[in-house]
Every structure is written in structure tokens, then in C-alpha cells.
Amino acid sequence: MARDEGQHNDQHFDLSFLESQMTRRATRRDVLKGAASVGAALSLGPLFAACGGEEGGTAASPTAAGTPKKGGNLRMGMSLGGTDIDPQLSTTGDVIGMNHNVFEGLTTFDPTMKVVNQLAEEISPNDAATEYTVRLRPDVTFHNGKSLTAEDVIFSISRIIDPKAPKTGASSLSHLERLEKVDDLTVRMYLARPDAIFPELLAMYSNCILPTGYTNTGKVADLVGTGPFKLTAYTQLQQIDFASNAEYWGQVPYIDTMSWYSVSESNALVDGLADGTYDWVIGLSPTQGKIVEQSDGISTVRSSSGTYTPFMMRADLKPFDDVRVRQAFKLICPRQQTLDATLAGAGVLGNDITALYDPAYPKDLEQTEQDLEQAASLLKQAGYGDGLSVECVVCPENGNSAVDSAVIFAEEAKKVGVTVKVNKVDVATFYGESWTTWPFSTDSWATRGYIHAARIQRFPDAVWNCEHWQNDQWESMMREAETTVDEAKRNELIAEAMKIDREEAGYLVWSFMDLIDGKSDRIAGEVPDVFYWTAINFGFKYLYFV
């Protein structure tokens, strides 16, 4: 199961042997209910000029033949976090889901990872990309009736970067120096250094706009946002209830209410969907997807995405400090075989570059295949001709693709004299004090743009840098790209940097995984989304009953 800043309290109970023997009803249907899969590269460009995209991008195209009916109560099963809900401190699935339904930000990502305006009507930078003027959408109200003004924006963003109590988005906004109110609907933001992708940072789901004076009381009445749904009830660890916001500035949702129920055991998701307890379940494994497809009355919704579970090698420690060892390892991995074995083929093959949906991602890459001969030769050149022994640390919480890929890798590595010991540790240990220091490990990452991902994962000061790779040429290209306002030039720089990355960096990205949700056939209108976690990225505002 893909996992990133969020914590999936998915206690692992692997009963796939029972799953495979379970037949749901008397009839078996081998039909793959048509699930729209979003195609590949779509541009990811931060929005500068006046072309503010309509929030939500393309309209919902119903996948089932049916006319949208207004009304209904949607019941969804998912693993609920169980810690308190501060919408700017979202790390668990339920809070992230609320970020997408109850709250909104100045910008957001559309289903193809393109940055579009949300509460901002227009964002214009100065020539040096050090000042951004944000003009707000007029006539937006919070769920408690209060109007959205510049003060709310200043309050919310200041709250995120407050040095005494920084929120999730604080480190990515560390270069934001100050905010200035220009008028009731306009805010100017001053940056300490030029940044061409600033609007993309504002689009992060945890950087949402709250009413001035919000404090984390945990009470439903205080949790007001501007989004298409209002929060009506919240019982920790059990149930979250929403009602549609009739005064929403955008398209009001079709459904009247929805409830999210806590499911701790992932097989209960499929059971509950099959017997009608839930109308929608998120985050299914490929095996569970197959079971859903074989059952009557329910189907899967699939979306390709840029989510990946790579191997990460610390380029500053032996043996990975020798680039030939890193290259050898990239050649040992049997990519298609790993994809088929761990994800039942539900994904696209990777070539070690991380940002699949970045517009600079090369279109016609030659696929890296397994080449044990070349790997052995590289290892010999690096002085490891007599063999090499490493430990790979993995966390089962990150899903099959993070664990089994390491097991498969270990099998193949034996053939070139490399002994890989796969060490499974629990969440508290993996993400504890030693995280970001494991010499060799696997992990799960969400879809991001290349520059943003570099800030989080690869730059020397990146807070989640597990790789510790130093390359002055790559870094200087990236730093220049960060300040290049012209999109075409910027993409050129990024493309060059990606080439170096592929050759020399410490990430082995063997594939990107599809996201799979399950739904009742009474529901339609879903819009597949490439971001992370769920095939529709919590886009319940598009759904309707047929």
C-alpha cells in the first residue's frame, strides 16, 4: 500500500492464500469493468499569468451509462488515522481526505498533476520571481458564513510557517519571508530567494486556508473550510460525517451526505464492499482488485499514477559511494518481473528518474533492462569482483511492492556475487531515529514535480534526504531551474539534470504503480487522479448515484 507523509494504520494481515480461494458468488465474471486510466505525460507547469484554470479541470465524464441523480448518502470504508485533526498537519489518510473535501488552498493540483488556481483567481510573480501577488476569488464563504478575505490567507500561511509550531508545509515554505495585505482580496508574498515554482508549493494539500483565529480544539464546529463538503460529525477512529456545501463557490456536489467508516483490516474493505456495507473503498491491492472485478455489483476504479516504491542507496557510504556499484545495482533489478510479481503488472516501468508526471520527463526513454553481465563487470571494476554483502531495510507498511521487490532483488543479486539480506522492520523503527540514514532501503513516495521532489528528497538540505548524493553539476542545473521563470527553458534544464540523475544518483525506480479503488455499480462520475493513495484522490465531489 502506498504511503507517504500519511500513516496507514494498516495492520498487516496477509491472508492472500485465503483470498485466492474465496469465490464471492456462484457466478464468476471475468470482465474488467471499464475503468478509465488517465494517460501519461501531462504538463505540470506552475500557473503565472491570468489563465486561472477552473477548479477541478475537466468535467466528470461518467464511466457508466447513467444520468446523474442528485442526492444520496455515500458510505466509504478506509483506514482512519486516529490522531487529532489539524488540517495543516495532515499526515493520516482521513485528514488528507478532509484536505481535499472540506478545505481548500490558494492553488491545487488537477487530476493530471497540473497546478491550477483554487481560492486564488490570479497569481502573478515579479520578473525576478521573488514576489508573488495573489488575487483572491471574490464571494467565497467559509462553512460558518464568514467571507474569505486577505486576512484569512495571511493568518493561515503564517500559521503554517510559525517557527514555534511549524506545520507540515513549513519546510517547503522556508524561503517565504513575509506576507503583506494589499487590499481585502489581495495578498503579496515576499520570498528570500527567487523561486519559479512557488505556486506549486502552495498547492500542497496541507497548505489549506482556514478562518482567522482557528485553533486546534478538535471540535467539529471549529473545523470550517471553504470546500465542497462541510464536516458534520467526527468520532475519533470510527466515523466521519460530511454534508454537501450548498453555498460552495464551485460546482456543488451531487451527493447530499457522506460518511467515512474506519476499517482496520484491509480484507474487510472488500468484504464490506461486496455485501453492500460500503459504496466506496480506497487503496486496494492488485489481488483485491481482481476479487472485486470478479464479483457482481461492484467494480474497480483504476488510475495510473506517479507513486513509486524505489530502492534508495546512500551515495556517501561504502559500497554505494562508487558510482559503478550504483549503476550495477540498477542493472541487477529485473524490472518487468518485479512489477508482475509484486503489483500484478498494475503499473508502468521506471527508469530511475523519479517524477513521471513532470513535463520535462523524457518521452522516448530506452527502457533499462536487467543486464547481469554488465553488472558483474561494473562490480569487478569497482573492486567487488569477489562479492559484496549488504542489508536492505524494508517496512511492510509500505506494501508488497516495497518488500517483495527487495526479496526478488536479493535472488537476482546472488547471481553476481552480491548477498542482500532483507531486514523487515516495523513502522516505529523504520521511520524512527534512523530514518534517512539507512544505507540501502525501500520506501514509498507520492507523485510530485521534479523540483519539488528534489527539495524534499535530494538537495543536501532536503528534510527527507535518504540518498545523500552530492553532484555539483546536477545541483547547479537544478538551482538555475528553480529560478528560471520561462517554462520551456526550465524544462530543458530539468531534462539535462534528469540525465545525470539517471546515470549516477542513488534511486532505483523500477516502476510506478497504479492506484486501485473499489466501488459499487450504483456510483458513477469518478475522475481518475494520478496523485497518490486513492484512484480518485478523494474526489468525492464528482460522484453521483445512477
Binding site: 486516529g82 470510527q238 455485501d275 521511520y431
Partner: protein, 322 residues
């Protein structure tokens, strides 16, 4: 003071000491675990040192350990179980109330079904010992007690909910807003699973002690006097055989309170087993403490009740008591 009352008071006193010791051990254990509530709240975000340290300060985790424990203990003495650390602003009582009620439903219904049924079956086994009924029941009890609870649960789901028959819901999703008795069908499978998990022990215990009693001289005497077999069994033999069985029943009840995590997990039922697992995962000390004390209290009370019941049922013990 009547001896029985003195016994009760003594045991209640010892019970309070037990609870205090439990709370100390639980506190030490949660502190010894790697990680802390701030890490649980932030997940991967805890790698950001500034956010992590800020949250630790906000949650009061940097206070010395004895201060944290004593301030919690002080609250408990005055009846305040405190607030949850990871769900700020929510008191432990508010948080746990629905979970405890859910578990209570399961506990009460399971007990009401399993205890009389297992006594009946155990007595019947002893009465017809070494006959076909006894053999079949013995084997069944052995198999059931050997199977892990989650296997029993899953087989029930397969049998009655998803594959063979579709008469019951596969998932015991409690819908908040509707009282539990109105959603009674979600309780059936977990209760059956729990009964099947606990009945074998009580049956075997009762069977063994009833057989022992049926072989004793006074039973032979009663039979020789011409009393009908059924009267001998129910009126004379059983009350004496029940003594040791109460202990088993008490252990079962205590186990049902705290140990049904697996069943709750299989059926996705929100009871205190699940609550405890989640609280430990979140390192939420006040919630963990409250739950552990609750379970310890149930152990103390059920054991006390079992001892009293044993005494009441056996007049010899009543007078021989000090």
C-alpha cells in the same frame, strides 16, 4: 463482621493495589517503547526536527517522567482520567465511551449465551460419558480450542456471509447515530465466534469436575435412595461441580474483555481491543492507562465474583472460612 464481607473488603483493597502496580508497569512500558505521540501524529513528518520538537513541547512530552506519571495519577485520584495526548481537547472518557459500550454488548451477549450453554453441554457430557455424544463433543471442543480465533472468525465469515450462505453481514461496521440494538445483525457473527472460542474450556472443566462428583459416595447414596437421575444430577451433583468451573468462567470473562482484539480485527468491530492496539500504536499514554486499568479491574472483579460464587455454592467453605 461477617467473614464474607471481610473477605470482600480485603480483596477490594488488594485490587486497588493491583491497579496501582498495573499503572506503573504500563507507564514504564509505554515509555520504553521506541517513538512517542509526536512521532505518531507526524508520521514521516517527524523527520523535520523543528516541527517534531515543537510538537513535543506542545504535548508536554519534555517534562521529567515522574512529573508526567504523578500528574496523571493525581488526576485519576480525583476521578479525572485526563485527556488523550494525540486527540487534543478530547477527554479519555469521551473517547472511550462508545468503544467500551460496544465491547460491553459483545461481552454480555456472549456470556449470556456461552455460560449456560457450556454448563448444559458439560453436564450432558458427564452424564452420558463415554457415549457417542461425549466423544463427538470432546473432539469438537479439542478442535475448537486448538484453532486460532481468527480462523474461527474467518470460517464463519466464509460460511455465513460471503461464500456459502449470505445471511449475515461480513463486516461488523457500527453505524454511529443508530443505537447498537437496532443494528443487532452485526453482532451475531462476532458473538458466535467468541462463544466458539470460549465454550470448549468451560465444557471440559465442567465435564471433568462433574464426572468427579458423580463418582462420589453421596451421589451413589442419592441414587440408592431412589432419587431420579435427573434430580441427582441437577440438584446434588452440579452445585458441587460448579466450583472450579466458576474460576474458568471468570478467566474467560476477563479474557473476553481484553483479549478479543483478533475477533474485533477480523470483523472490524470497534471494541476496546482495537482501541487499545491503536492507542499503543499512537503511544497515547492516558488512553492506554485507562484501558489497562479497566481490564485489570475486570480481572479483579470477576475473580472476586468467582471466589464468592464458589464459596456460596459450597457450604463447607462458608464455615471453614477465616
Amino acid at each position: 463482621m461477617p467473614p464474607l464481607l471481610r473477605l470482600i473488603l480485603l480483596r477490594v483493597g488488594l485490587g486497588c493495589v493491583t491497579l496501582l502496580l498495573v499503572s506503573l508497569v504500563v507507564f514504564a512500558a509505554t515509555q520504553a517503547l521506541p517513538g512517542d505521540p509526536a512521532r505518531a501524529i507526524l508520521g514521516k513528518g517527524a523527520a523535520n526536527k523543528a516541527v517534531y520538537e515543537g510538537l513535543r513541547e506542545e504535548l508536554g512530552l519534555n517534562r521529567p517522567l515522574q512529573e508526567q506519571y504523578l500528574s496523571w495519577l493525581q488526576g485519576v485520584m480525583t476521578g479525572d482520567l485526563g485527556d488523550s495526548i494525540v486527540n487534543r481537547g478530547t477527554s479519555v472518557v469521551t473517547l472511550l465511551k462508545p468503544w467500551v459500550i460496544n465491547s460491553l454488548y459483545l461481552l454480555v451477549i456472549t456470556s449470556l449465551v456461552s455460560i449456560p450453554l457450556s454448563i448444559l453441554i458439560g453436564a450432558m457430557q458427564a452424564y452420558w460419558r463415554d457415549r457417542p455424544f461425549d466423544h463427538v463433543t470432546n473432539v469438537t471442543n479439542l478442535v475448537l480450542s486448538a484453532l486460532p480465533e481468527f480462523v474461527i472468525g474467518l470460517v464463519l465469515v466464509l460460511l455465513l456471509a460471503t461464500s456459502v450462505f449470505h445471511v449475515l453481514p461480513a463486516v461488523s461496521q457500527v453505524i454511529i447515530g443508530t443505537p447498537l440494538y437496532a443494528q443487532a445483525e452485526i453482532l451475531v457473527l462476532p458473538v458466535i465466534a467468541l462463544c466458539l472460542a470460549t465454550m470448549p474450556y468451560t465444557c471440559r472443566m465442567l465435564r471433568a469436575s462433574t464426572i468427579g462428583v458423580l463418582d462420589s459416595e453421596f451421589v451413589m447414596m442419592a441414587g440408592l435412595k431412589g432419587l431420579p437421575n435427573r434430580l441427582v444430577l441437577w440438584r446434588h451433583a452440579l452445585p458441587n461441580a460448579l466450583g472450579p468451573t466458576f474460576q474458568v468462567i471468570a478467566l474467560n470473562l476477563a479474557w473476553l474483555t481484553g483479549g478479543i482484539v483478533v475477533i474485533e480485527y477480523v470483523f472490524n468491530y470497534p471494541g476496546i481491543g482495537t482501541a487499545l492496539v491503536k492507542a499503543v500504536a499512537n503511544r497515547d499514554m492516558p488512553v492506554v492507562q485507562a484501558l489497562c486499568m479497566l481490564i485489570a479491574a475486570v480481572y479483579v472483579v470477576t475473580n472476586l465474583a468467582a471466589d464468592i460464587a464458589t464459596i456460596l455454592v459450597n457450604p463447607r467453605l462458608r464455615t471453614g472460612m477465616r
